[in-house]
């Protein structure tokens, strides 16, 4: 047996194992392919188109569907946007809307609802949570119509009918306090997401651990503070992150409720502006290019936020090892 033979043999086995590994990778990619294709067609390609549109001045007045014939204007749309006297107001509207809705409803109220419904009778808690899913599974149009009908001016609105019955003055609720309604209406939907995540996290805490805390001398409130909340830290951070991003891009309910009004941009948020500019401008003058610039900025803000969240909350570490199961 020559020396080259002894060398070649393990290397052939090695190559074979490489081939096997490659084959198994191919299987994995094969399974990922359908989802990958969908993401490319319905997400990456549109993002690329929007990016391109944002550097053109495409509008209904100079419409063309030929990408090559669209007029390239560089960063002019972004320049216009930064000088837009209302962009600043809309920017702060958006921050206000996201922060207030997120902190009061999507996180705090969701936490309160899950803690309450896990501390009462199990089936009663379940029914209560099931009811709170309704806003999310109701079509937004129907859901907003219900709110509008409740809050409408006298003599149509249900609340104002009660006011009249009690001899109280009537109010035009939505136009006097539009922000309250924008936040409450969105918040009621937002609660259900955190509620489901928090509830399942709380219920997955081992019963022994909860009993141990009571026996160790905690009240139920102390148990929430020292045991339950630390143990659901990861779902808590997840909900904060996920809901920030989803509130940033949500606009359907606002569009249906106030359409950014009353008055000039009173409750207009960034994503709604992108929609208004690009697709629903006055006199049918849709500014696709300009609207795309708004959309691109929103995506960039979202990406930056997501990266910051991942860094600050150290997601990789949180996902790395199960926290409660490590008993």
């Amino acid at each position: 047996m020559s020396e080259s033979d002894t060398k070649a043999k393990p290397s052939a086995a090695f190559l074979q194992s490489r081939r096997n590994a490659l084959r198994s990778y191919l299987g994995a990619y094969g399974f990922m392919a359908p989802a990958g294709v969908l993401v490319i067609i319905f997400f990456l390609v549109p993002v690329a188109i929007v990016l391109y549109l944002s550097v053109t001045n495409l509008a209904s007045s100079n419409f063309t569907s030929d990408l090559a014939r669209m007029e390239f204007i560089g960063l002019k749309n972004y320049e216009t946007l930064l000088n837009d006297q209302f962009a600043r107001k809309i920017f702060f509207n958006t921050i206000f809307y996201v922060l207030v809705t997120l902190s009061i409803f999507n996180v705090s109220l969701a936490l309160v609802v899950s803690l309450l419904t896990t501390h009462i009778d199990r089936s009663a808690g379940f029914v209560f949570r099931a009811l709170w899913i309704l806003p999310r599974i109701t079509s937004p149009v129907v859901y907003i119509l219900i709110w509008k009908r409740m809050m409408a001016e006298a003599p149509f609105g249900i609340l104002n009918q009660f006011n009249e019955l009690l001899g109280q003055p009537t109010y035009n609720y939505v136009s006097t306090n539009p922000w309250v309604f924008v936040v409450v209406v969105n918040g009621f939907i937002g609660v259900s997401f955190g509620m489901i995540i928090f509830t399942s996290a709380i219920e997955s805490i081992p019963k022994d651990l909860l009993n141990a805390s009571l026996v160790d001398g905690s009240s139920r409130m102390q148990r929430i503070r020292y045991v339950i909340l630390p143990l659901i830290r990861w779902p808590l951070l997840f909900v904060v992150t996920y809901q920030t991003l989803s509130l940033l891009t949500s606009f359907v309910e606002i569009q249906l409720l106030t359409d950014g009004g009353p008055g000039l941009y009173r409750t207009e948020v960034w994503s709604l502006t992108a929609f208004h500019r690009a697709l629903s401008n006055y006199f049918g003058n849709a500014q696709w290019g300009y609207g795309s610039a708004f959309a691109v900025l929103l995506v960039m803000i979202g990406v930056v936020l997501a990266v910051i969240y991942m860094r600050v909350f150290r997601f990789d570490e949180l996902v790395a090892e199960p926290r409660v199961e490590a008993l």
Binding site: D208, V215, D216, R323, A326, L327
Partner: protein
């Protein structure tokens, strides 16, 4: 702390956890709740802890009725089967948690935690997290956490079930030693009769939510008051045989088909007076393989246990478990003569399942 449980009933909807339990535990006593799973022993323990509220009956700690007292106001320590350590806290924080809730000053907390940790032999682990400890170490931490607040009552919920056999033996001794030293009234729930027998001053045997017996270990072993207790306590379990006991000329005889066993008046008189069919119980160690045996049978299976052989011998339809010297090297299929020590035989009423020999 003396504990008096009177007519305790706990129901979950229609499901009965414990029914009409009456049990008085002396100050400093170590009591085991023994029974198969679902017998209500853990339900009783959690009711004593205040996690469950009794449906009916009274629980007194000393003179105080604690039925509706919150767990935190009962001054109890509890050790769980799963250890139930808080995974997000260090070992120090775990042990200090009951003190922190009592608002004990920081320096006192520090001192007490270290003291308890040293007693439990986990002094060098205080900075670790529960996930980094072995099962045995975690159990010590759990015990330390239960002891640190100097409880009036210690509750154990199958604390050794998750440990390996060798460690279980060590911890058994340590817990018993600790309990005797500290003199804390303790209740120990287990389904392992060996644990109950070796550790407890008295054992409460439970089955299907009801108390079967409450006695010292050797009392339960030698004078079981019910068929269930007789069968549950002791390993390998007692042999049972349906017999009829008759008397002629002052001699008593237990008979089952071909088996005829003479017995003395003290054991024979009550079942003979009861008349008809009774259940006879005889422990494996009370059956010997001897030349001058009472009945002849055949060895069905030999299970070597090391120190002795566990033998399943068949006499006709009947099977008897007995223990034999390994030196004898019995083989399956061998014909043997069995000698019954009838001075140790037990007799039960087949209907009421109560002992015909021992009454309450």
């Amino acid at each position: 702390m003396e504990i008096r449980i009177d007519n305790l009933t706990k129901k979950f909807g229609d499901v009965v956890g414990v029914e009409d339990l009456t049990l008085h535990i002396d100050d400093g006593e170590f009591v085991a709740f023994l029974g198969p799973s679902g017998c209500g022993k853990t339900t009783t323990l959690l009711t004593l802890a205040g996690i469950y509220k009794p449906t009916d009956g009274l629980i007194r700690f000393g003179e105080r009725v604690v039925n509706t007292v919150q767990p935190k106001d009962r001054n109890i320590g509890m050790v769980f089967q799963s250890y139930a350590l808080y995974p997000h806290m260090t070992i120090f924080q775990n042990i200090a948690y009951p003190l922190k809730l009592k608002k004990t000053p920081k320096n006192v907390q520090n001192e007490r935690v270290r003291q308890v940790a040293n007693v439990m032999g986990i002094g060098e682990l205080l900075d670790r997290r529960p996930g980094q400890l072995s099962g045995g170490q975690q159990q010590r931490v759990a015990l330390g956490r239960a002891l640190v607040k100097e409880p009036d009552v210690l509750l154990f919920d199958e604390p050794l079930s998750n440990l390996d056999a060798r460690l279980r033996l060590t911890m058994r001794g340590e817990i018993k030693h600790l309990q005797k030293n500290l003199g804390i009234t303790s209740i120990y729930v287990t389904h392992d009769q060996l644990e109950a027998m070796t550790m407890a001053d008295r054992i409460a045997v439970m089955n299907r939510g009801r108390l079967q017996a409450f006695d010292a270990p050797d009392e339960l072993y030698d004078r079981p008051k019910t068929l269930f207790v007789a069968g549950f306590v002791g390993n390998p379990p007692m042999n049972f045989l349906n017999v009829s006991v008759s008397q002629s000329n002052g001699h008593f005889l237990a008979e089952a088909e071909t088996i005829q066993l003479p017995l003395g008046a003290d054991r024979g008189e009550p079942p003979a007076r009861h008349g008809g069919a009774v259940v006879m119980g005889i422990r494996p160690e009370d059956i010997q393989i001897a030349a001058d045996g009472d009945v002849t049978g055949e060895i069905f299976v030999v299970e070597p246990l090391g120190r002795e052989d566990l033998i399943d011998a068949r006499v006709g339809e009947h099977s008897f478990i007995l223990l034999a010297d390994t030196e004898k090297q019995h083989r399956a299929g061998e014909s043997v003569s069995l000698k019954f020590d009838m001075t140790q035989a037990q007799f039960f009423d087949p209907q009421t399942e109560r002992s015909l020999l021992w009454h309450h």
